[in-house]
């Protein structure tokens, strides 16, 4: 936790209703090691010498517990949180715990023993907590049973604690390491109950991350760090316009360059394979590929915005309706209207996407940092034309993800290249290629009309939005009626109780591929709606905090979070000229987050965010320190997008590729941040990796209005004139 960061929590009384009792195979066995032809030890499932109590954990003779993690840690802390869920029940000493990634190949062969391995939607804890607790509890009971059997005493008289099983009456005690082999052969008659909130000893404590030590000395192995004997490197250029094709390429100049092995042509890309990445990249630059740019070589984000905006003249598909919104607007004492726009955004994970593939006669090995090793496996099998059982995915550390690494397009290309190369090959995208061949947060256009009564109370809201559907390209059946709910987060079915409302939508498509970007639809929608609510409050002459409260009478849980943010931020206290505060609220991924931003705007229009206070209700906590870190991370991520985030499309392609034109927040621009947990407990296990991204953007925009009187209706801020006098 940072020096200026405060983390407070309040956990009111809760009642826990029945919880899911996971069914888990009680059969275990000794771990079967398999050997990998790789030099450095990575975080992937390896060759642990010990007794496997169940698929999730192996105990070695020296008491070391290796816990398998099926979700991917892109910085959000699951490499520690998932082992905590197991260790909570296992009663092992935490200092003996190490983590490794679970094997997708094993999960495929063993009836999906690791369940859903994809990571996204901030749901790792809520999804896997019951069965990971169960895995730990089951292992504990089997260790106890093994000791009881050996000692000839009832298991009920034995206790497990601190990696030992003890029998108090006889004074006997054995370490887990001594019991593990016998425990692996035990079958339980019935699975034990798992602990409930209130009974936890490990969950809710701030344990240091297991992966930090390897990340301070350079030893952590990311996908790009994999080194395999005989490995070659590939640099790739993808057709700059999506849906375009490679027409022709003269490989002669590149082929003559030092270290170059071959030039590989794909349908929509060309790659140079060499004995080092730099030689591959230099040779790639010497190629002059001819592209068939396809139908979209004239497209631009400006033209898209005009088209999206034009669509807003029509009603579109109604996503949510109550009362008679249009009628209420007719009779309202005051009507306010505004249009908002949000641009495409790139993920800009710091490790450019990369993938290492080795195709051999009887197996295919893939090393990469992915948010979904199962889809990596499937795509590799398809692209290499091999049975999935032959594909072994070795999950590496991820140099950021933010959604980008849940799409295996780069894996497919790497496998296609590897099929044409007689060696293990590591395909690395340059920063520019990573950005330009990316899949973006959708751009969106919004129109709002709201009615206030004579007292300034809100009576009606009409909203139209036009944006892409991410699910349309993924699961078309989810968008059958013209509505992709993920495009409408926080717009449709928001908790704001407008008696008359009509939330309407226009599903748009361009040739630019869109994808999940940290916090997804709420990122653009919260910017628009939470800014417009601020406009409504000011038009009504009301305080933006109290104005929201008045619309949330049915949601006391939200009011508590909103109040916490406002109060901790000192809402309403005097600020010097040029300073202002803004507030915003969003519920998403099972959590409620309210934020207050305080900004300073110079007369020439330079904005400095001084402070961001976040209040979060994620229900319960696994690791409070990680939660604080995730909220801070979300604030920084959101601020980068608010200030500079934009992928401009010109000539059908992403205009800029590197950090010189895609600015992101740095140390000097980072505000003081505070996280306040307002925990409602109960059965609520909300996500923490994403919920704090959406509200920070409108909170800052609303603060700029408070400071300058300038309303931000289009992002990024860098494109707006914020000077004032």
């Amino acid at each position: 936790m940072g020096a200026e960061s405060k983390l407070t929590s309040s956990l009111p009384g809760f009642t826990r209703r029945g919880f899911v009792k996971a069914t888990l195979s009680a059969t275990g066995g000794l771990a079967l090691g398999f050997h990998l032809p790789v030099l450095a030890a990575g975080p992937w499932a390896g060759d642990v010498e010990g007794a496997e109590i169940n698929a999730w954990l192996v105990i070695e003779e020296d008491d070391t517990v290796t816990i398998r993690v099926a979700q991917s840690d892109m910085g959000q802390g699951v490499f520690t949180a998932m082992p905590m869920l197991v260790a909570e029940e296992l009663e092992c000493d935490w200092k003996h715990v190490r983590a490794e990634y679970a094997s997708a190949n094993r999960s495929l062969r063993e009836d999906r023993v690791y369940r859903r391995m994809g990571t996204g939607g901030s749901r790792a804890v809520s999804y896997s907590r019951p069965y990971l607790q169960q895995a730990g509890a089951s292992a504990r009971e089997r260790l106890i049973a093994a000791a009881a059997e050996e000692w000839g005493v009832p298991a009920s008289e034995c206790q497990a604690r601190g990696s030992r099983v003890s029998h108090e009456a006889s004074g006997r005690s054995k370490r887990y390491g001594e019991l593990a082999a016998a425990a692996a052969r035990i079958e339980l008659d019935a699975e034990p109950e798992i602990r409930k909130p209130g009974e936890y000893q490990l969950l809710g404590t701030s344990l240091p991350r297991l992966d930090v030590p390897a990340k301070v000395d350079g030893s952590a192995v990311y996908g790009i760090d994999v080194r395999i004997p005989g490995m070659v490197y590939a640099a790739i250029a993808v057709c700059p316009v999506w849906e375009g094709r490679l027409k022709a390429v003269d490989a002669s100049a590149a082929s003559a360059m030092r270290g170059v092995k071959q030039v590989v042509k794909l349908d929509d890309a060309v790659a140079v394979v060499a004995d080092s990445y730099w030689r591959a990249k230099k040779a790639l630059e010497a190629l002059a590929p001819e592209w068939d740019l396809g139908e979209h070589a004239d497209a631009s984000s400006e033209a898209f915005a005009s088209r999206f905006r034009a669509a807003l003249s029509d009603k579109g598909t109604v996503a949510e309706e109550a009362g008679d919104a249009y009628g209420a607007l007719e009779t309202a004492a005051k009507v306010i209207e505004a249009d908002y726009s949000a641009p495409y955004l790139a993920h800009l994970a710091l490790e450019p996407v990369n993938c290492t593939v080795h195709i051999q006669a009887d197996r295919v090995d893939v090393w990469t940092g992915s948010q979904n090793p199962e889809s990596v496996l499937t795509v590799t099998a398809e692209e290499s034309d091999r049975p999935p059982e032959q594909v072994h995915v070795h999950s590496c550390h991820l140099g950021g993800g933010f959604g980008r690494r849940s799409r295996p397009d780069f894996v497919a290309r790497a496998v296609a290249i590897a099929r044409r190369v007689d060696a293990p090959v590591q395909v690395i995208y340059s920063r520019e290629e990573d950005t330009r061949s990316g899949h973006f947060r959708p751009m969106a256009e919004f129109r709002f009309r709201a009615g206030l009564d004579a007292e300034g109370a809100p009576v009606a809201l009409v909203n139209r939005s036009a944006t892409h559907s991410i699910l349309a390209g993924l699961r078309p059946e989810a968008v059958a009626n013209g509505i992709d709910q993920s495009s409408l987060s926080w717009l449709a079915n928001s908790p704001y109780a407008f008696a008359h409302r009509s939330i309407e939508h226009h599903l748009q498509r361009t040739h630019v591929p869109v994808w999940f970007w940290r916090a997804v639809g709420a990122t653009q929608n919260a910017f628009a709606l939470e800014s417009f609510l601020d406009e409504m409050a000011h038009a009504a002459g009301h305080c933006p905090w109290q104005f929201r409260r008045s619309l949330l009478a049915e949601r006391p849980d939200m009011i508590r979070v909103l109040d916490a943010a406002a109060e901790k931020a000192g809402w309403g206290s005097a600020l010097p000229t040029g300073r202002g505060r803004g507030i915003a609220l969003v519920e998403g991924f099972g959590s409620i987050c309210a934020q207050v931003a305080e900004v300073e705007v110079s007369r020439s229009g330079e904005v400095a965010v001084k402070r961001v206070v976040s209040a979060l209700d994620c229900g319960n906590t696994v690791n409070p320190q990680t939660i604080d870190e995730q909220v801070q991370s979300s604030v920084v991520y959101g601020l980068s997008a608010a200030f500079w985030g934009k992928v401009e499309i010109r000539d059908g392609r992403a205009r800029y590729g590197n950090f010189d034109r895609h600015r992101v927040l740095k140390m000097a621009e980072t505000p003081a941040m505070e996280t306040h947990l307002v925990l409602s407990g109960g059965d609520k296990w909300g996500g923490v990796g994403e919920p704090a991204v959406p509200p920070v953007v409108p909170a800052v925009c609303n603060a700029i209005f408070a400071a300058t009187g300038k309303r931000i209706r289009a992002l990024p801020l860098a494109d707006q004139d914020l000077s004032w006098s």
């Binding site: 936790m1 940072g2 020096a3 200026e4 960061s5 450095a40 892109m74 910085g75 959000q76 802390g77 240091p208 991350r209 992966d211 930090v212 030590p213 390897a214 990340k215 301070v216 000395d217 350079g218 952590a220 990311y222 790009i224 080194r227 490197y233 030092r258 080092s276 990445y277 730099w278 800009l348 994970a349 710091l350 490790e351 450019p352 550390h397 991820l398 140099g399 950021g400 933010f402 690395i428 340059s430 920063r431 870190e629 801070q632 991370s633 979300s634 604030v635 920084v636 991520y637 980068s640 590197n658 950090f659 010189d660 992101v664 927040l665 740095k666 140390m667 000097a668 980072t670 941040m673």
Partner: protein, 153 residues
Amino acid sequence: MITLTVNGSRHEIDVEADTPLLWVLRDHLELTGTKFGCGVAQCGACTIHLDGEPIRSCVIPAAAAVGRQITTIEGLSGDRSHPVQKAWIEHDVAQCGYCQSGQIMAAAALLKRKSAPSDADIDAAMTNICRCGTYQPMRAAIHRAAELAREVS
């Protein structure tokens, strides 16, 4: 052939003189702790020390490092005992961790220059990008590392 001294060891490397140091370290010497993020000296993930000064190795040709001391994250302490590494662990700084080698090298160089850096010194010296946004814990860890370094000396 060029000769480079990396973390105290001399290496003869058969590489073109204009190859950026980053790729010599990563591909020829297999010192993969130094990271590639942008290739144009914007992000700082490739920060190493050249004669003790922090440099962005993705834009420094190998030839420019001949006869000079190159220190990478692997050579900072060898056992995570550098005050910056200790403070980083104490403050649980790393998230995805990809930028952290570069951040740590930048912070170590700052502390060599200023034993008790102010927040303004930190702002000026720490210009590397962290997409996980670990800046606030990083700032606290740098202050802590300065304390640890003073305790040792």
